[in-house]
């Protein structure tokens, strides 16, 4: 069976800057949910930006269902079911919640389909149903994050990449977001999560992938991956190196 997403020896970076990802190879199977963990600067967000089309691979291949997609634009990847929820808040601030969600289905022309998906998203996020006529810029951080997740669901994605959804949220609000992500992972959507809070991130998915310095270190079932001795080495080892370079 062809994998939903496959990266083989891919290199990528920003502008004229150095490579952030060095020969990353990994495979994402449909139906599972994944969390990428790793220290700061490991290239986690860069990986998501590469897959969604914001960045282009410098070398190597990015394949979606066996088709090479490196160099395609975000709207073209969206048409292939790949969507990305960035870590910075990206609601359309002066549009209402409802308009924001409808905007998610920008690429869909059939009005009935849009209405149907809107209903499903509002069912998933009852709080957004209450706030549907409110201007998105006036929502709380957690609600804005829900709008962004809901908007991404409007394209009916097969791969949903979510970058640091809990960033800047109060713990109880973050709990709700992680809960939603776990529920999404149980549907036929494949979730690829990037999370600084490794513990919480791994609790919401099936499979963990450890990234460091732009390379995949290892992967395994989410439950128990944090007990792996290599994890301690990675996080603590990285700290020692940085102290040495400071001194």
């Amino acid at each position: 069976m062809t994998a939903l997403l496959e990266l083989s020896e891919t290199r990528a970076g920003y502008g004229a800057g150095p490579d952030i990802l060095h020969d990353v190879s990994l495979t994402i199977e449909a139906g599972k949910s994944y969390c990428i963990i790793g220290p700061n600067g490991a290239g986690k967000s860069t990986l998501l930006k590469l897959v969604c089309g914001i960045l282009k691979p410098r070398e190597g291949r990015v394949m979606v269902r066996g088709e090479s997609v490196g160099g395609l634009r975000p709207d073209q990847l969206l048409a292939r079911g790949v969507c990305y929820v960035p870590q910075e808040r990206t609601v359309f601030p002066t549009m209402t919640v409802r308009e924001n969600l409808s905007m998610g289905a920008y690429s869909v022309d059939d009005k009935d389909v849009v209405e149907q998906r809107l209903g499903r998203v509002l069912e998933l996020f009852p709080i957004l149903d209450e706030r549907r006529s409110q201007i998105a810029g006036t929502l709380s951080g957690g609600e804005q994050q829900m709008v962004t997740l809901g908007r991404a669901l409007m394209v009916d994605p097969s791969l949903m990449m979510i970058d640091e959804p809990s960033l800047g949220l109060a713990p109880t609000v973050a709990d709700q977001i992680f809960d939603t992500i776990r529920r999404l992972g149980e549907t036929d959507i494949t979730v690829l999560l990037v999370e600084q809070n490794a513990q919480r991130g791994l609790e919401s998915v099936d499979w963990g992938i450890v990234l460091d310095l732009g390379k995949k270190k290892f992967e395994g079932p989410a439950e128990g991956i944090l007990d792996d001795p290599r994890i301690r080495e990675l996080y603590l080892g990285a700290k020692v190196v940085s102290r040495e370079s400071e001194g």
Binding site: R73, P74, D75, A79, P86, T90, F92, P93, Y106, S107
Partner: protein, 290 residues
């Protein structure tokens, strides 16, 4: 002059100022580009109107059907040939300032070369006619210009609010990354917006041709005024452009009435200084933190 009379004269001009400023602020909103050549292209359109009027006896207002599409096409082509290569630059903003400044110089040079530096203006009959409403003096030409400006601005508003492309433009103005992520082809939208902004410059040029005498280097004065209007309104806000344009047009009318026409431009620059000191984001602009 009495208060109401000055107010009316200011409001009449406010419409045209709004039209000129709307194209500039639209471009900034969508692409974060301050098009310093905007007024130069208004002057180009004014020359098109001038020659259509002088050689073919076409009414300057009717020349809008020529200037708008011509400038639209020019805008799209210019965007696609000049801007995409700057996108990956780390100094995008500085680059676009240099680019549009260069464009303004080139346009001015070409206009001077071909059409000389003589003062021009079109003179349709209504440009010099006027009438009294009760005891208020109304210049007919300015009333016509206000009407046309209103029609075009309402058209622009409806386009942005009620069409799919317009919604995509608004989304791109509010959050470019998010627009890209929901599937908006932002390069296509940018090209289109550049075209629409230039079309508005085209229409403005047709109206300007009979309202204000012009010559090639006149655009510097205009772009300076337009910048003060959109800075007051808030860069990238169309509502702001209209509010800024109307309020400063009225303020300039009062300054002219009290201190004389020489002082009229001072209104705009004084307003620019005050806004930048007191509320740099303008009336409707958003605060950008870096």
């Amino acid at each position: 002059m009495n208060f109401v009379q000055v107010l009316v004269l200011g409001l009449l001009l406010g419409g045209v100022y709004s039209l000129m400023a709307s194209g500039l602020t639209l471009l900034f909103g969508v692409m974060r580009v301050v098009n310093l050549a905007h007024a130069a292209f208004i002057i180009v359109a004014a020359y098109i109107a001038f020659y259509l009027f002088t050689l073919a006896d076409v009414d300057p207002v009717l020349t809008i059907v020529v200037t708008m599409p011509v400038m639209f096409m020019l805008g799209v082509v210019m965007y696609l040939t000049l801007f995409p290569r700057l996108e990956s630059s780390e100094r995008y903003v500085e680059m676009t300032v240099l680019l549009t400044f260069g464009l303004a110089l080139i346009v001015e040079g070409l206009l001077t070369f071909f059409f000389t530096g003589i003062f021009r203006s079109t003179r349709p009959e209504y440009a010099t006619q006027s009438f009294f409403l009760w005891d208020i003096f109304i210049p007919k030409g300015q009333l016509v210009a206000l009407g046309i400006s209103l029609v075009l601005l309402i058209g622009l508003w409806a386009f942005l609010m009620f069409t799919k492309t317009g919604t995509a433009i608004r989304a791109t103005m509010q959050n470019r990354t998010a627009a890209q992520l929901v599937g908006v082809n932002v390069r296509r939208i940018s090209a289109l917006s550049f075209g629409v902004g230039m079309a508005l410059a085209g229409a403005s040029g047709s109206l300007l041709s009979y309202l204000f005498p012009f010559f090639p280097s006149r655009h510097w004065q205009w772009v300076a005024i337009l910048l003060s209007l959109i800075v007051l309104g808030g860069l990238g806000s169309l509502k702001g452009a209209v509010v800024g344009a109307v309020s400063l047009a009225v303020a300039a009318a009062f300054v002219t009435d009290i201190f004389g026409p020489t002082w009229s431009p001072v209104t705009f620059f004084l307003a620019l200084f005050l806004v930048l000191m007191v509320r740099p984001q303008g009336l409707y602009g958003k605060v950008v933190r870096i």
